[in-house]
Symmetry: D2
Subunit: 138 residues, 4 copies
Amino acid sequence: MEGFRFSTDVRVRFAETDAQRIAHNATYLVWFEVARVAYLDEFTAGYRAFQDAGYEATVVETHVRYLTPAVFDDVIRIWTRCLDVRGARFRYEYELVRVGDDARIAEGWTTHACVDAHTLRPTRLPQSIVDAIARAES
Amino acid sequence: MEGFRFSTDVRVRFAETDAQRIAHNATYLVWFEVARVAYLDEFTAGYRAFQDAGYEATVVETHVRYLTPAVFDDVIRIWTRCLDVRGARFRYEYELVRVGDDARIAEGWTTHACVDAHTLRPTRLPQSIVDAIARAES
Amino acid sequence: MEGFRFSTDVRVRFAETDAQRIAHNATYLVWFEVARVAYLDEFTAGYRAFQDAGYEATVVETHVRYLTPAVFDDVIRIWTRCLDVRGARFRYEYELVRVGDDARIAEGWTTHACVDAHTLRPTRLPQSIVDAIARAES
Amino acid sequence: MEGFRFSTDVRVRFAETDAQRIAHNATYLVWFEVARVAYLDEFTAGYRAFQDAGYEATVVETHVRYLTPAVFDDVIRIWTRCLDVRGARFRYEYELVRVGDDARIAEGWTTHACVDAHTLRPTRLPQSIVDAIARAES
């Protein structure tokens, strides 16, 4: 996918479908989160290490555009990139395509704030994370 | 809520919280859906009648801005309005406030297309629904 | 319902259905939890007060027998009782019937342990809760 | 795992945790389903082929015993076996252990009925599936 260097795959679970026989619209936000966690695993020490260091990432805004319905057992490749890292804020973008026929399933973005796990106040992303993301996306 | 004539309440379920001890970000899209169903119940014959008449509503786009975390057992009032009804397309807007302290929890919008349940092709919203929404929002 | 003194209603959400067009089997455990919370609200100071007093209830075992599929928008009455309160342990039983046609949707039970929220070690249920449950079920 | 020939792994998603900072009790039923689908993929033509042949499997009963809480990012190995195949009925058993420390996370079982997708009446499992399961478990 042009402009993306990382992807992770999910397979549509039966529990994620709804009575329209497609993946429910809320599920996409869960997949985005799975992709963020996989991204941090790939390029940093992972989200658990981030938490252990006293940070949490909160979700500020989410946006999804649904293009082609996904159905049970589809394998969805989630292309994921992190950008606009600025102080406490950062942004993820996602492109979802179905493995097999390359159908464009959805696109979306989410914005986040890094907070101190104890005070819950916004705090700059640790420099090691900023650097790791810069390397990953360069 | 200025500009809204309809609201419905949900109470944050324990299952809807996550390890940050707040309602998970994907849950908001489920609540939006609960609000749409309640809205159609109030102003039309309901979503089930809509389906029985051979229609489905698909979700085209969703957007959420998270303002104040909601926690277990909070009662959230979802102010809901439907607008921009045009052919097959329509749009819902939401304002979520916590009952008790009026904290602004989130705001969001979703866009939808009415489709024929059999062909899944976009089709104009039935005129009775268009009229009911116009009356509800006027 | 014979032998039950408390019930609460849930309405099947669209997000709770699956591609078999019925409420997904895991959803019933969420409904059981909703019923437990409502039960504690009715007969005690509520689960939040229980937590504030330094306790948590963990889930030890769950059992569901599915009798009639529930579909979107069905209103399900969850008959709920608490019994076998013994030290840290207690047990809930549930009977689910559909409002309207009284179809038996499911039955189930769950067992729980009261734990100290800090040590997570089992601890006797506070006597005030034990007494409240005894009064509720007598 | 003694007596099991098949396993599949899931990783605890953040969305699957709750405010007790552990995987929510209902999630285990979703994991069981993921394991059944993986099992059918391994030993038969898969659940989608089963559906395409005009069948559905319904869930009759579920049982979970929770042993050690699972937390975000834990990798859980779900040992899975299918037994008691008899006419339309069959039963799955599960043992969940955490990869890394082998902690026993949970155990459970589910029973199912094979139904005709159109009439929803119980119907014998196709012989090819019965044979495939017999081979898998022998």
